[in-house]
Subunit: 315 residues, 2 copies
């Protein structure tokens, strides 16, 4: 196991030290200090080879994404990211792979001042377990369960670009021309931490978009016991996705494509202007109502009812 | 994935709720409240099938042990255990297996008032990732790096029993008679949380014994830049292990057997009486000195030098 110990020592120096870490990698536990009056936010995700990624994925991309999806969960609560632990299960020790993986991981960690405080390296089928930690003022977290009737449903950025890039990689010839522009949306998603923090005190509810809008917004609806009417014409689409879509009813990618890692929030109308001042790319796409379920409305007022089940299944 | 969602809902109710958990399973993050002036202690361990356990291990045992090894890390810092997240990678959903696994996990969690606050269920080769969280007054953690020359080296409980049970399970006929008495030491280790907390302010350094005394105490020596002389006759051995050992020089099990999950601490002589009053089964086994390395001394003063390398390799 000497090689594995080497890896652990290597990871110990990977990220910049923070002042609120009295003890990092190398003891039985890491010790972390929260500011008084703050709550800890924590989330854990495991990526398994052959399930969440292909064995031949670029390791730098994988390192970035394993951290990004967890930071995105912190973003959706409105938390500030601070610390992370990495449980790496490796089938073998491949120095080049590890260096590239850790470069992807460390570059993103440095960008958000996140320190790696715990490492566990295990021999076995390739899998990556990340637990991310952040904090936010007590009582100010953006939850899934607190959307209110009348709230405007907003999303950051544009929807469906990652799914379009995936189609291109899977061989969709019509999608191929857009791969160069959109590949980073799939492989190097940027967790919207600043946006999440800016929306504390303004948004009622929030979630990050990992499984697709319908699926993820569905969690807010269910946990808040409300419904929604979405305006299809208002979905924010990149120029590339607009070029790709063939009909006005082709909304599978923006509605059900995963991996966007944008935020979906509900904002009371009186707070919208302030929210949009703080988050420049925040787009209103619908409104929360009391009737359970999700209604997808065309510009002419008609509903896209038939395909909803299909979307849900796809999602 | 409906089955997996079911599992997550099932796990959500598994452990008793704590007042310091404003938000548990079911959102993007869990939210946790630390008392002001306390530090968070966190540790993560992954158990992989075929590496850390056999595929046919009793799932209840596995549930217990996956949590116990992490709580043991909290114990060694002197922390109070509070919360835990579970990242379960399952090759299939087997209701009987899951029920037994979660029973083992939940029984131990309830014993120490630990709440499961996050769950991630993934399809893939069987693996169990646990991240445990506890807290302790700021600055009072028992670390590996703070042993001092003159400190007495002490261990809780008895050493080598889990390794003897393992030998019995592996077919050692001489070990078999002791299996009934010692099997729980291997399969259901009890994290020494109360002992760790009691030793705050008394012990200088601490570690939990997972890989065997020589290996684990070695971490304290290395990180504290000190050495140790251990008195072999003072190693605390159960009556069963004493019956099994054939010669006075047969110390592989207590010195290098893993899975004890007892604590090894260094205590200044002036604090020993108080430490032993608080932790009844605390035994002095040696003393920290300035000369690097580990010396194993027989009762007659001679050293067991030849075998040290062998032990280290075994460990």
């Amino acid at each position: 196991m000497a090689e594995f110990e080497l890896i652990q020592r290597y990871f110990a120096q990977l990220t910049p030290p923070r002042e609120d870490v009295p003890l990092g990698i190398g003891d039985d536990c890491a010790l972390l200090r929260l500011p008084d009056g703050y709550e800890l936010a924590t989330t854990t995700d495991t990526l398994v080879a052959g399930v969440h990624f292909f064995d031949d994925v670029a390791p730098e991309t994988l390192g970035h994404k394993a951290l990004a999806v967890n930071l995105s969960d912190l973003a959706s609560m409105g938390a500030e990211a601070a610390w992370v632990t990495l449980a790496l299960t490796l089938d073998r020790t491949d120095a080049a792979w590890l260096q590239a993986f850790s470069r992807g991981f460390a570059t993103l960690a440095a960008e958000f001042n996140v320190q790696l405080v715990g490492g566990d390296t295990t021999q076995g089928p390739l899998a990556i377990g990340v637990t991310a930690f952040g904090f936010l003022p007590a009582g100010q977290a953006l939850k899934r369960s607190t959307a209110e009737v009348g709230d405007l449903v907003c999303v950051t950025g544009s929807l469906g670009d990652a799914a379009l890039a995936l189609r291109a990689l899977q061989g969709d010839l019509r999608a191929k021309p857009f791969l160069r522009d959109l590949r980073h949306r799939l492989e190097s998603p940027q967790p919207r931490l600043a946006a999440g923090q800016s929306l504390r005190g303004l948004a009622h509810a929030a979630i990050d978009l990992s499984d697709g809008l319908i699926s993820d917004l569905g969690h807010i609806l269910k946990q808040s016991r409300v419904g929604v009417t979405l305006q299809l014409a208002d979905l924010p689409l990149s120029p590339q996705l607009q070029s790709y879509l063939q009909s006005d009813d082709d909304f599978v990618l923006p509605l059900a494509g995963g991996d966007d890692y944008e935020l979906c929030v509900t904002v009371p109308p009186a707070k919208l202007r302030q929210a949009q001042q703080r988050v420049a790319d925040l787009t209103v796409i619908g409104q929360i109502d009391a009737e359970p379920g999700m209604r997808l409305q065309r510009q002419d007022g008609s509903l896209l009812e038939q395909q909803l089940t299909g979307y849900e299944h796809f999602a």
